[in-house]
Homo-oligomer: 271 residues x 2
């Protein structure tokens, strides 16, 4: 089974150890933890869990957050990203997922923020290549442009990849890109630079900008169509379920959530 569980999906119910147990119970051996979840049980223990259970880490979430109001902030962000790369290496992650950051406090200069992002990624590439942990730029939905990520389309992310060079790719999360009229073209353009494929669904109505993502099948995204594009581009890695859902899935038992992920994946997410 090429299903991965991003641990944000059950972050209110489980620590990383418990999340691994639930996944294993359902035969799922690919995971994507968040750095705070790793930190909570300790990096060495997290790495041991991965190694001893033969888990694939489809990505470590997350690096990024490059823009800052001053040089001190920019430097601090780079240092934090280097630590993230080290953690990703320790976990043998497929990539470090980058949520690149939005406007610095008080700024309205989105072009400037975008330049800071590109500069930050460029500054990380040497370490990233040396550690063999590729950087996965995750374009985020335009509704997050101000406060989470000023890279908002796959095309824009790939332009950065083109300029920054090898070792940098993209994470294609259906939630962020499903609406893009240029999606098929840009996924084909991405080719081998697709480092991760995240799934969930877009609910109608969506009641919260951040914490109301849907389970696959409960919304309007044509998941098999996007998976076909991703596979045609050459990506055959796991589909990683990442659902932020404060009022629904985070309130259900982790076992039930993962069972549902697996069921929906098997019935509704094949190319």
């Amino acid at each position: 089974m090429t299903l991965s569980i991003n641990f944000a999906t059950i972050r209110e119910q489980c620590d990383m150890r418990e999340a691994v147990d639930v996944c294993l119970k359902h035969g799922i051996t690919a995971i994507a933890p968040w750095r705070d979840q790793v930190a909570k049980i300790g990096l060495a223990e997290a790495a041991r869990l991965v190694r001893e259970n033969g888990l694939q880490v489809t990505g470590l979430c997350r690096g990024g957050m490059f823009p800052a109001a001053d040089g001190t902030g920019i430097k601090a962000a780079l240092e934090d990203n280097r630590r993230a790369l080290e953690e990703a290496a320790e976990l043998s992650a497929d990539c470090l997922v980058l949520v690149v950051g939005g406007l610095p406090e008080g700024s309205k200069d989105i072009k400037g923020a975008r330049q800071m992002v590109e500069d930050g990624i460029a500054a990380l590439t040497e370490d990233s290549r040396a550690m063999r942990i590729p950087l996965a730029i995750e374009p985020l939905h335009p509704m997050y442009a101000a406060d989470r990520a000023c890279v908002n389309t796959l095309g824009q992310a790939l332009d950065i990849c083109d300029r920054v060079g090898v070792g940098v790719g993209v994470a294609v999360d259906v939630y962020h890109v499903w609406w893009d009229p240029d999606l098929e073209t840009q996924i084909a353009r991405a080719g081998s630079r697709i480092l991760a494929h995240h799934i969930c669904d877009w609910l109608v109505p969506t009641t919260d900008l951040l914490l109301d993502r849907g389970m696959m099948g409960d919304g309007v995204i044509d998941l098999p169509a996007i998976r076909r594009m991703v596979e045609a581009a050459g990506f055959d890695g796991p589909q990683e379920v990442e659902i932020f859902s404060a009022n629904n899935w985070w309130k259900k038992p982790a076992d039930a959530v993962i069972a549902t992920c697996k069921d929906r994946y098997e019935r509704l997410c094949q190319a």
Copy 2:
């Protein structure tokens, strides 16, 4: 003064007659009413208000909503759009603003919905040209792709304009397009096809996908920068304030809201 008030901004406080009075009190002679507001006082009375007060109608909101689950729905949408064109003509509006519609009920076929939109616009162009009421495609923010408008970037709207021909242009609403990395290029490309320029602001945080728009200056949009692009493209019409704000501006007296619009416009919105 080249300031226009879209009457959605004070829709909870005023009917169209009262909204006109508030605008006139502040020296504002450009307006953009909604069809339900026109219907409530009657088209003839609305037209009389416009004529006798020498008002510029910077747009009638709104036509569109083309996609439908079956032929009957598609035909009904076209008929409704023809009525909207007649109303716009009666009000001597600068354009009919099109919110094009999202996915038909139960559909996940956004490509299909986009084709329905283009077909619908193409079917209206003859009437639009005959009545001299240009159609203004308003690309809506991608967060509305499913349920309000599957045209989500200026580039996509202009591609439709290119294919459908003369008499069709775009409404550039900063709320919907401010995040677009391709904004400057596409505004330049639009040129004389810019039929309307809507302003408000993007709040951080935004607490509701639909009804939490900000007053100019309260958010992160660089309004003078976008106005410069719009003017460089050749548009010199009014800036039209359109704010949906259930928990803030809709709860204040209309007079205070319009006074604030005028003050912010004068201080913060010039190119």
